[in-house]
Amino acid sequence: MISVRKLSKRHGERLILSEVSAEVAKGETIAIVGPSGGGKSTLLRCLNYLETFDGGEVDIAGVSLRPGMGARHRELLRALRVKVGMVFQQFNLFPHLSAEENITLAPRVVRKLAAAASRKKAHELLDRVGLGDRAGAYPHELSGGQQQRVAIARALAQEPQVLLFDEPTSALDPEMRDEVMSVIKDLAAGGMTMLVVTHEMQFAHDIATRVWVIDRGTIAEDGPPAQVVDAPQSDVAREYFSRLRRPK
C-alpha cells in the first residue's frame, strides 16, 4: 500500500528526514513514536504531499510522489488526497459548518456526490463514531473529543484507502483520549491502513501492528510492538520509552 524509498527533506541546512525507507502493507496500523523534533509529523505529511521533499520517492495508494511536484500535478495530488485521509492534532473542523456539513462538504464538492447520498453517509459515519445525535451541532458546541471524532468521520467520508493521524489525542484531556482511541481501534479492527503519530504507549502497544521509532530523521527501530516497545534494541528507543514510563 505504501512504499517509501530514501525519502529526504531538509530545511535550509538542517536535515529533517534522512533517506527514510519503509514499507506498509494493506490493513497495517503503524504507530509512529519518538522524541519531539525527530521528524515524525514531517514524514507523515510527506505521505499526502502536504509537505514537499527533496529526495527519494513515495508510492502510496497507487500514486507515485517525487520531489518538486507543483501546479502541473495539482489534479494528481488532489486524487491522492482523496485516497489518503488525514486527521490533525487541532482537529481543524470548519467552524462555520455543522458536524454534518463538515462531513458532507468534501464528498459533495470534490467527488460530486449527491447531497442526499452524502448526508446519508455522514449520518452513518456519525453513528459509527458515536455522535449520531450531534449532526446539527457546530464545532464550538462540541467537546474536544467529539470534535476529533467528527474530524475522523470527515476524513472517512472520502472513503480513503489510507488514514494518517498526526498526534490525534495530544490536544485532548485524558478522559477524551479514550473515546478517540477507541474509534481508531475500531478502524484498525475493520482493516483500515493507518499511520498514527502518537505518544500513547498503550495504543502503540495494544493496537499497532508495527511501531516505528523515529529519531533525527531516520527510522531508528521498526518492528512489532512486543519487540520495539517491550524490548527496544536501540539506545534512542530505550531512552524514549523509559522516559515515557517514568512518570506513571
Binding site: 502536504l50 482523496v82 488525514m86 490533525f88 470548519f94 462555520h96 464550538h140 470527515r154
Partner: protein
C-alpha cells in the same frame, strides 16, 4: 432665520454705527472684496505667465474702484455660493464676482449700479431643433447653481441639471447627457461655443439680459453711494470700457440701457409637504447609490483580496497597484475622471458613473478588510481542506471566504455607513442625492438649520437600521466568536 442672519451680521460688524464700513475702509486703506477663483477667466484667475498673480476684469474693476476711493484692493477667496452669507457675516467689505442683480438679492443685500450687462445664452447641439426655452419642455437643461439662469429655468416646465463648474455642462451637452445649457454669455462664449466644441452652438437671440453688480451689506448705504459714484465716473471717463475691452467683454449691450433688476419670481420656500417628499426621494437616491456601489465593492474587494493573498507576484502586484491608486487618490477626483474624463471615449450616465466610481473606490478598502480577514483564518483550515482533496477555488469558496466574511462583517458595516455619507460626493456629477437636496433647499429657504436637521435625520434613518441588521447578522453568523467576559 433671516433676521437671525441679519443679527449675526450686525454683531459681526458691531462698529458700523460709528461711521460704517466706508470709514473703516478709508482708515485701514484697504477695500476687501470677496470672490471665487474658480470662476476662472475672464472674471479672475491666476496669470498663466505668473501664477502667483491674480488677474481678470474684476481684479481691474476692484483696483480701479479702490483707487477712486483712495485705498488699495485686496481679494478674499470664498466659495462662490457662500459669498452672500460671508458678506453678511462681515468677512469682507463687498462682493465683486459675477453677482447678478435679482430682486431676491436686492432684499437681502444692497446692490451697486451694474458694471456689466450680460445676456443669458442658450447653447444646444448643432443638430438639435430647439430655439427657445419653450421648445425645451420636459428636456434636461444644465446650468450653474444659484444663478439667474437657474431661476429662469426653474420657472419653466423642464428638468434642471445643476453643475458646479463652467466646463462640465458643455461636456455633458456634447455627450448628449443634457439637451441644452443656459448660462450667461461670458461663460457661453468662453466654455461653450468655441472651436474645441464643434457640436455645440449658441443661439443668437438673448434669452434674457441681466447685470453684474457689486454686493454691499444692508448696513452700508454710504459705501454703496461711494461705489456707485466711482462706477459712474468710470463709465463716464471710459475706464470701464477700457477694462472690458481688454478682457474682450465690451459689446453693444454695454451701451444699451441696463435691464431693470429682474425678479426670478421664485418665492422663499418653506419646509412643506412637497419638500418633505423631495427629501425622502433624495434619501432613496442616496440609499440606491450606496447599495449598488457596495454590491460592486464587495466582489471587487474579494477578488483583489484573493489576488493579494494567494496570487503570484504579478497578480498580487497588480492588485496592490489598484488598491494603492484607488485608496490613495480622492474619490471626488475618480468621479470626475470617470464622468468627464472618459466622456469622449465612453459616455456613462451620472448614476452609472456614481455607482462605478464609488464601487471601485470602496472595492479597494474592502480588499484590505478581506485580506486582513483571510490572514486571520488559522492555517489549519486550508490544510484540512487540502487534505480532503479540495481544489484552491473550492477551498476559497467553501472554507475560507465564508469565514473571512464573518470576520469582516463589523468593518464592512462600518464601510457601508461611511459609503452612505461619501455618496454625497456624487453631486459633482449632477446626481441630486440627500446632501445636494439639502443645499438646494437651504438656498431656496434662505436657511440651513431646518434642511440640515432633516438631512441629518434621514442619514441616521438610513444608517441605523443597516447597522442594526448587520449586528443581528453578526450574532447569527458568528456564534462561536462571541467574546468571553474579560
Amino acid at each position: 432665520m433671516r433676521s437671525a442672519l441679519l443679527l449675526l451680521a450686525l454683531v459681526a460688524c458691531g462698529g458700523d454705527e460709528h461711521g460704517g464700513t466706508l470709514a473703516k475702509i478709508k482708515k485701514r486703506g484697504e477695500l476687501t472684496w470677496g470672490a471665487d477663483l474658480q470662476g476662472g477667466e475672464p472674471y479672475l484667475y491666476e496669470d498663466p505667465s505668473n501664477p502667483t498673480q491674480i488677474i481678470g476684469f474684476e481684479v481691474d474693476i476692484a483696483n480701479a474702484l479702490a483707487h477712486r476711493l483712495g485705498v488699495k484692493a485686496r481679494m478674499v477667496q470664498y466659495t462662490w455660493s457662500n459669498l452672500v452669507p460671508s458678506l453678511e457675516r462681515g468677512d469682507f467689505d463687498v462682493i465683486l464676482n459675477g453677482l447678478e442683480a435679482t430682486a431676491e438679492r436686492g432684499e437681502r443685500i444692497l446692490m451697486s449700479e451694474p458694471y456689466f450687462i450680460y445676456a443669458e445664452t442658450l447653447a444646444v447641439r448643432v443638430d438639435s431643433p430647439y430655439r427657445t426655452l419653450a421648445d425645451l419642455r420636459g428636456k434636461r437643461v444644465g446650468t450653474l447653481n444659484q444663478t439667474f439662469a437657474h431661476d429662469l429655468l426653474r420657472a419653466q416646465p423642464l428638468e434642471v441639471v445643476l453643475y458646479e463648474g463652467n466646463e462640465e455642462p458643455y461636456i455633458d451637452l456634447e455627450q448628449g447627457r443634457i439637451d441644452a445649457v443656459l448660462l450667461d454669455n461670458i461663460i457661453a462664449d468662453r466654455y461653450g461655443c468655441i472651436a474645441r466644441r464643434p457640436r455645440v452652438k449658441c443661439l443668437p437671440d438673448d434669452i434674457a439680459r441681466g447685470t453684474y453688480v457689486i454686493g454691499i451689506r444692508k448696513a452700508d448705504p454710504e459705501l454703496k453711494r461711494a461705489i456707485d459714484d466711482a462706477l459712474a465716473a468710470m463709465k463716464k471717463d471710459g475706464e470701464l470700457e477700457r477694462i472690458l475691452t481688454k478682457a474682450k467683454l465690451w459689446d453693444k449691450r454695454q451701451t444699451e440701457p441696463a435691464p431693470k433688476t429682474v425678479s426670478a419670481a421664485t418665492k422663499y420656500r418653506t419646509f412643506d409637504t412637497e419638500m418633505v417628499w423631495q427629501f425622502v426621494w433624495a434619501a432613496l437616491v442616496t440609499l440606491k447609490l450606496s447599495l449598488l456601489a457596495f454590491l460592486l465593492a464587495v466582489p471587487v474587494g474579494l477578488i483583489l483580496a484573493v489576488a493579494r493573498v494567494y496570487g503570484g507576484p504579478i497578480v498580487s502586484g497588480a492588485a496592490r497597484v489598484y488598491i494603492e491608486v484607488f485608496r490613495g487618490t480622492p474619490v471626488l477626483l475618480q468621479l470626475f475622471v470617470l464622468y468627464y474624463g472618459l466622456a469622449p471615449y465612453y459616455s456613462l450616465g451620472p448614476v452609472q458613473a456614481a455607482v462605478l466610481g464609488l464601487g471601485l473606490n470602496y472595492g479597494a478598502y474592502e480588499a484590505e478588510v478581506y485580506r486582513g480577514a483571510l490572514l486571520a483564518i488559522p492555517r489549519g483550515q486550508t490544510e484540512a481542506a487540502k487534505a480532503l482533496g479540495m481544489a484552491p477555488s473550492q477551498t476559497l469558496r467553501h472554507v475560507l471566504l465564508p469565514q473571512a466574511l464573518r470576520l469582516a462583517l463589523p468593518p464592512m458595516t462600518n464601510d457601508f455607513v461611511s459609503l452612505l455619507k461619501d455618496s454625497s460626493l456624487v453631486s459633482v456629477i449632477t446626481v441630486i442625492e440627500l446632501t445636494k437636496r439639502m443645499t438646494i433647499a437651504a438656498v431656496d429657504m434662505r436657511g440651513w438649520l431646518v434642511p440640515g436637521l432633516a438631512c441629518a435625520a434621514l442619514y441616521l434613518a438610513l444608517s441605523f437600521p443597516l447597522s442594526e441588521l448587520a449586528r443581528r447578522l453578526e450574532r447569527r453568523l458568528a456564534r462561536d466568536q462571541r467574546p468571553q467576559a474579560l
